[in-house]
Point group: C2
Chain length 127, copies 2
């Protein structure tokens, strides 16, 4: 299960940031009504509110570059959830410097054999 | 439940880093046999292995200074687990500069009304 968690975590992270950088509105499909986002300490609940926050971020053209991805099964009894911990940097169009960030996701399996984001917490890292 | 998660998360973080900085061996009581630690990409499983790694870290005198703590309930169905996301810096005795870090914990409630650490992932942040 540990290798599965790593594989799912990496595939999810690739997919998530690809959507974020290219088709941000479609991120809403990764969240559900029970989902929670804490973005720089601000809380958002449910896929509508979360998607609205993400699409309104003032990051018209940005690119996430991932440094590390760590993943573990989240349940002691094998419930199939996965916690994913990401560090990386955010490159904004026309700006030289990068913003370092870290983010964690808690993924829950769906009945269709996929995963959705139950928990999402994002923080910029100040040096 | 959201406020409870924040309260538990902050109390846990204070307790955890106080033990880390003052009585590191006693951290073992916060982990169980199912617990997992990923420390800078290295994996450890079970409280014995995790505790051994933590006590052997070459950080004889250190102090964690916490910058941010974000917490959310981890289960869509109210299982009582809490995900905690921490950023801060690590100050080593005799060294001027600080090491920035971020860390996530997944806390699971115990039958005794407390919590143990199921998931722990730690990364230093390089600038």
């Amino acid at each position: 299960m540990e290798d599965t968690a790593e594989m799912v975590g990496r595939a999810f992270v690739d997919h998530y940031y690809h959507l974020f950088d290219n088709d941000r509105a479609s991120l809403s499909s990764l969240y559900r009504d029970t989902s929670m986002l804490t973005f720089e300490g601000q809380k958002f609940a449910g896929s509508t509110e979360i998607s609205s926050k993400l699409t309104q971020l003032p990051l018209d053209q940005c690119r996430h570059v991932i440094s590390t991805v760590d993943s573990q099964p989240s349940s002691p009894t094998g419930g199939g959830g996965i916690v994913v911990f990401v560090s990386g940097s955010l490159q904004l169009a026309g700006e030289e410097h990068h913003l370092r960030f870290s983010q964690m996701f808690h993924l829950i399996p769906t009945a269709e054999g996929s995963f959705y984001v139950q928990n999402d917490m994002f923080r910029l890292s100040y040096g």
